[in-house]
């Protein structure tokens, strides 16, 4: 699997060199340690929360698998002698586990699966990866190694040396595996009365042996076929269960295995949750909750979501990215020390130093806030630290409350927008969230059009939506929403009392019936015109009035609560919004970086002499840069002699001016050597390769320079 990168390494570096690193990051070092610990504790909270979320998400799948496994070898347990069982071919029970293309996430699933199995079904689990099993021999070695080791784990230590001795000279064949299995099960049988009972009684007498193929696609056909054929011959002695981890689609089984082999299997399909739903849940639980004081700004969230949707579909990477945001925030923002739970806030504010107060005063959002105050307060805010601290606390509390309300109203709005045709504001709540964070959502066209659409909703939909909203607002238990909930309930009762409106409509229907009676063409035309006229000017029905009222009310809620976060004072403390840093860390662009380094060495070397403008080639640049720039001007095949000429011209340019040497036609040996070295460096970097078409030419491998 290769949707890989590892921000975890960065984290490790940071956490090992812990607080000192935070301190060196900025000179006002007082709160560095505190920030570091806040960051760590916050991350630990988030981590445990994500683990819980993922566990819940996988629960269904894992439960199904466990029940499948416990069912799979029931015949083996009961040793039935029924006719059908005798006649039937013993197939190997196989679970095809479709996990989606995000291969990096699979590890987690497999780990929790094997943990679960270990606790419930069987101690004998082997996890095989394609890269370890190029041949059937390696596969058997790996399999036996893992199984026999787990046997050590389960059993007492006294057998250890015995096993290790035998393992070195054990034969990697199925028969020795069967012998081992018989020995192990017999032993547990005889030991059950002893004190071991507690550990081993969770399993049956002969627990199945589970073999998990992590990445089915990468296994070679032959290895799989051989393994299945071999193990199907011994299924009577060794209760084997296979689990195929599939990233693409279950069709791959038929593609990899011919019918003669797949007929040895009894395949059941298990499908994990789609990774998009997985992400939605994670966002819902992590970002749209008020558990954590830390929040993501719009741009940062967009970057993370884009990486997920465009590139890797990996929830793990999303969480890693989130972790990076947390770290970056606490590392780069000195005031992040205030990014804590409300309980601790007061104490921390009181401990703020003068420098930190100055930091607060420097925040752009705070300056905007100050400008709006009257002059007396302005002076107090800018000069008195204590007053500033009081004010800060109030503002931060406001910010927390704002977020709290924001989430509830966002969910309400989402109830409406997610049922509109064509989803003008996005289907997922994350789209809506991004839209609301970006700017004032009520000024956008999409919002306009979705209100338009919402004004056309029918009654039953509207009622259910209102009920959902009431539930959301009630569950949020905010004090501020009491009135809102009352208002919504009032709407609901009004909808229930709409009987009269229906009667009114009945009247209009009866007038239509009258119309049908008339047969005279002239009259018909006349009444039709009248009817049309009256409909245009007709007063809205009660229902429509009410609908307008409801939508207007929702609109007012939106305008009141869904103000973008960056309009709020002191948002810099809780919201992380420097997307460029994140993008730099996560979107590695090796080719661009290489091009920049070679084309513009000043960018990395920071040497004034290298600063050059435009396309000119400075002779002070490293040789490889000169060679690179020259090669950019060439076609697919580069003549080495011409290249050398050009190179020596550039290099000699400076010297030629002061010492007009006559040795122009003969290239200096040193320059020649430098040229050769630079060219071979370019070859190593993969820009050129020796060409077979012409001996004194090299071929370019890149185009367009980036």
């Amino acid at each position: 699997g290769c949707f890989v990168f590892k921000p975890s390494a960065k984290k490790r570096r940071l956490s090992q060199s812990t607080a000192p690193d935070f301190r060196s990051g900025n000179d006002k070092s007082e709160d560095a340690e505190l920030r570091f610990f806040t960051c760590q504790s916050l991350w630990n909270q988030i981590k445990s929360e994500t683990e819980k979320v993922q566990e819940d998400l996988n629960k269904n799948l894992l439960d199904n698998l466990v029940s499948f496994l416990s069912r799979s070898h029931s015949e083996f347990q009961e040793k039935t002698t029924e006719w059908t069982c005798q006649m039937k071919f013993r197939e190997i029970p196989t679970a095809a586990l479709v996990l989606g293309v995000n291969v990096t996430d699979h590890d987690l699933t497999f780990r929790s699966l094997s943990d679960l199995l270990q606790n419930n079904i069987t101690p004998y689990i082997a996890l095989l990866e394609a890269k370890d099993c190029p041949g059937i021999k390696n596969l058997m070695q790996k399999l036996m190694g893992q199984l026999m080791n787990c046997y050590i784990d389960v059993d007492s230590l006294e057998d250890e040396d015995y096993v290790q001795v035998s393992q070195s000279r054990i034969r990697c064949s199925m028969s020795s595996l069967i012998k081992w299995y018989k020995g192990v099960t017999k032993k547990t049988d005889s030991e059950t009365p002893s004190q071991k009972r507690t550990s081993s009684s969770a399993y049956w007498q002969s627990p199945p042996v589970v073999v998990i193929f992590k990445d089915m696609e990468s296994f070679t056909t032959k290895v799989l076929q051989d393994f299945i054929v071999i193990s199907s011959q011994h299924i009577h002695e060794l209760p084997l269960v296979l689990i195929f981890g599939i990233a693409t689609s279950p069709m791959i089984i038929h593609r990899l295995l011919p019918h003669s082999v797949s007929s040895l299997l009894c395949i059941e399909l298990f499908q994990s949750l789609s990774c998009k739903e997985h992400l939605s849940t994670v966002i819902d639980k992590l970002l749209l909750s008020d558990q954590f004081p830390f929040k993501l700004g719009e741009k940062v969230l967009q970057v993370l979501i884009n990486i997920f949707l465009y590139h890797d579909f990996s929830v793990q990477n999303f969480i890693k990215g989130f972790q990076l945001c947390v770290m970056e925030h606490f590392f780069s923002q000195p005031l992040s020390v205030l990014c804590c739970q409300l309980v601790d806030l007061k104490k921390r504010i009181n401990f703020l130093s003068h420098d930190q107060c100055e930091n607060i005063r420097r925040l752009p959002s705070f300056r905007r806030y100050v400008e709006k105050q009257e002059s007396g307060k302005q002076v107090a805010l800018l000069t008195t630290d204590d007053f500033l601290k009081e004010e800060t606390q109030k503002l931060l509390e406001d910010l927390h409350v704002y977020h709290y309300n924001y989430v509830s109203v966002l969910r309400c709005l989402h109830v409406f927008t997610s049922s509109l045709p064509k989803y003008p504001l996005g289907k997922q709540i994350r789209d809506l969230h991004c839209a609301c964070l970006e700017n004032q959502v009520w000024e956008t066209e999409e919002y306009e059009s979705s209100l338009q659409l919402a004004r056309m909703l029918n009654k039953s939909d509207l009622v259910t939506m209102l009920q959902q909203c009431v539930e959301i607002l009630l569950s949020s238990s905010g004090k501020e929403f009491d009135k809102t909930v009352e208002k919504l309930k009032e709407f609901l009762t009004q909808f229930q009392n709409l009987e009269e409106a229906f009667q009114e409509r009945d009247v209009s229907i009866s007038s239509q019936k009258e119309l049908q009676k008339k047969t005279d063409l002239y009259h018909l035309q006349k009444t039709l015109l009248e009817l049309k006229e009256s409909r245009r000017s007709k007063k809205l029905t009660k229902f429509e009035m009410l609908r307008f009222e409801v939508i207007d009310f929702i609109d007012s809620l939106v305008r009141k609560y869904l103000v973008p976060a960056d309009r709020r004072t002191l948002h810099e403390i809780l919201y992380f919004n420097t997307a460029t840093v994140l993008r730099g860390h996560l979107n590695a662009a090796p080719r661009t970086a290489l091009h920049t380094a070679l084309n513009n060495p000043h960018w990395y070397l920071k040497n004034q002499a290298l600063k050059c403008d435009g396309g000119s080639i400075s002779n002070k640049a490293p040789d490889i840069c000169i060679v690179y720039k020259l090669h950019l001007e060439c076609g697919r095949l580069i003549n080495l002699v011409d290249w050398l000429e050009a190179f020596s011209t550039v290099v000699m340019a400076a010297e030629a001016s002061d010492a007009d040497a006559a040795s122009s036609d003969q290239v200096d040996d040193i320059i020649h050597a430098r040229f050769i070295r630079a060219v071979s460096e370019l070859e190593l970097l993969g820009f050129i390769k020796p060409s077979k078409q012409k001996t004194d030419h090299v071929a370019r491998l890149t185009w367009g320079g980036c």
Binding site: F3, T84, K137, S173, C275, H311, N587, R591, L701
Partner: protein, 433 residues
């Protein structure tokens, strides 16, 4: 009147043997006459071939077991290296001689060692005056081991200078085995496929104890009528018979029909069997799922087979990469300019070109293309600018690991890797939607 006659073996053993191997009497009698009496030397090596489940293994096993001839039976797939294979033969030789001491196993790496150890084992077992049979099942695997293994087995009698016969069982003909030089040609023996009559006879033999043989035979008749066209594999047929029998009995159990009511029973079972052919037989749904369905009287439609799940979610750029790869694989290079450039100039229309293109591309299969071409097409089919980040490149490699693309000639990464697109047009259509 038994068909099998041999002076060396008691008549009742032969009678028993005959009852165990229906429809294979002629082969067995031929084998018996080749084997001769216990102490007589037999042919050094015998090669038996025939299609899947034509009873090769079964016949050999029952023959050797019923007549209690000394033998070793080894599956070459299971013992996948020559060392494992040779050691296994020796172990079987030793273990059958004395159950008590079977721990001492000597490493045996070469045929030379094997011959030496084999002689010792034979002497220790006291089998010098009997023919020992070494049966190698799935012998086609021998070709993949060291080059001297197969010739050595063929001449084992000569090499060990003892009374041994090697029997090779395989599904392919001897001509595909024969090494170039110095090879002893074994006696080849062909096991023909079972005919429909044979299948009927064999399958009807083991009927369930609750029902009469005739009833079961009628059932097998119907079953063969449906499945004989697609499947002649005895094992598979027996499996299917067992799976569907309970459904067949249903009317009888409910008392709606008696056992003689063939037509009614046929009406009941026939659509069911047809459905089974499309699902269980192809392993679209597993047999345990099938049984559960039968039990609950559910419609198989509720359970989607493996092939029904063709849909695959891919990240945005992976989709485009795959589409670009498909285009690069199936379009000739010279059309790129025409398709992907805005100002491509005049389109030359030559009749020859058109005709040529229409026939070929999808029939010829995907062609390899360099990485640069893939990226160039990607840039032109994606609307907005794509930054060539590591994420894009890693997606290409992950598409390769998912077997949606395949790498051609992986000798040098630096030298411009070449890929092929391995997915079908339908798949691309589904993605491009």
């Amino acid at each position: 009147m038994p068909n099998l006659e041999h002076p060396a073996y008691p008549a009742d053993a032969l009678l028993h043997l005959e009852s165990l191997v229906p429809c294979r009497e002629s082969q067995v009698s031929l084998l018996l006459s080749i084997f001769g009496e216990r102490q007589q030397f037999s042919f050094p090596s015998i090669f038996i071939y025939g299609h899947t489940s034509s009873g090769k293994t079964y016949v050999m096993q029952t023959l050797l077991n019923t007549l209690q001839l000394p033998h070793v039976f080894v599956n070459c797939v299971e013992y996948f290296t020559s060392r494992l294979l040779l050691e296994e033969i020796l172990i079987q030789l030793q273990s059958s001689s004395s159950e008590t001491e079977q721990t001492s196993h000597v490493p045996c790496d070469t045929v030379n060692d094997f011959v030496r150890l084999y002689k010792q084992a034979v002497v220790s077992r006291g089998l010098q005056d009997q023919t020992l049979y070494i049966v190698l099942d799935r012998a086609e695997q021998l070709r993949e081991m060291e080059a001297n293994i197969l010739p050595a087995f063929l001449r084992l009698q000569e090499l060990t200078d003892s009374n041994v016969t090697v029997v090779l069982l395989s599904e392919i003909v001897w001509e595909l085995f024969r090494p170039n030089v110095g090879c002893f040609d074994p006696l080849t023996l062909y096991f023909p496929d079972y005919s429909i009559g044979h299948l009927q006879k064999i399958l009807s033999r083991n009927h369930p104890p609750e029902y009469t043989a005739d009833f079961y035979a009628a059932y097998i008749n119907i079953l063969l009528g449906v499945f004989y066209m697609v499947c002649r594999d005895l094992k598979e047929l027996r499996h299917l018979a067992a799976l569907n029998f309970s459904k067949y009995c249903e009317p009888v159990v409910r008392g709606e029909a008696n056992e003689r009511d063939t037509r009614k029973l046929w009406k009941n079972i026939e659509p069911h069997l047809k459905k089974a052919m499309q699902t269980v037989y192809l392993r679209e749904i597993s047999s345990s799922q099938w049984e559960r369905l039968q039990h609950d009287d559910g419609e198989p439609g509720q359970l989607k087979g493996l092939s029904a799940h063709t849909h695959m979610e891919l990240p945005y750029y992976s989709k485009f990469l795959l589409i670009a790869a498909y285009l690069a694989s199936y379009n000739p290079v010279r059309t790129d300019k025409r398709f992907f450039l805005k100002h491509h100039g005049k389109i030359r229309k030559t009749n020859f070109m058109k005709k040529h293109e229409k026939t070929s591309n999808h029939l010829l299969g995907p062609k390899p293309f360099p990485l640069d071409r893939l990226l160039a097409i990607l840039y032109s089919i994606v609307d907005n600018r794509v930054a060539p980040t590591a994420n894009i490149f890693s997606q290409i490699t992950s598409l390769v690991t998912l077997q949606l693309l395949s790498m051609v000639g992986q000798n040098d990464q630096l030298e411009g890797p070449r890929y092929k697109c391995t997915v079908s047009l339908d798949f691309i259509r589904a993605i491009a939607r």
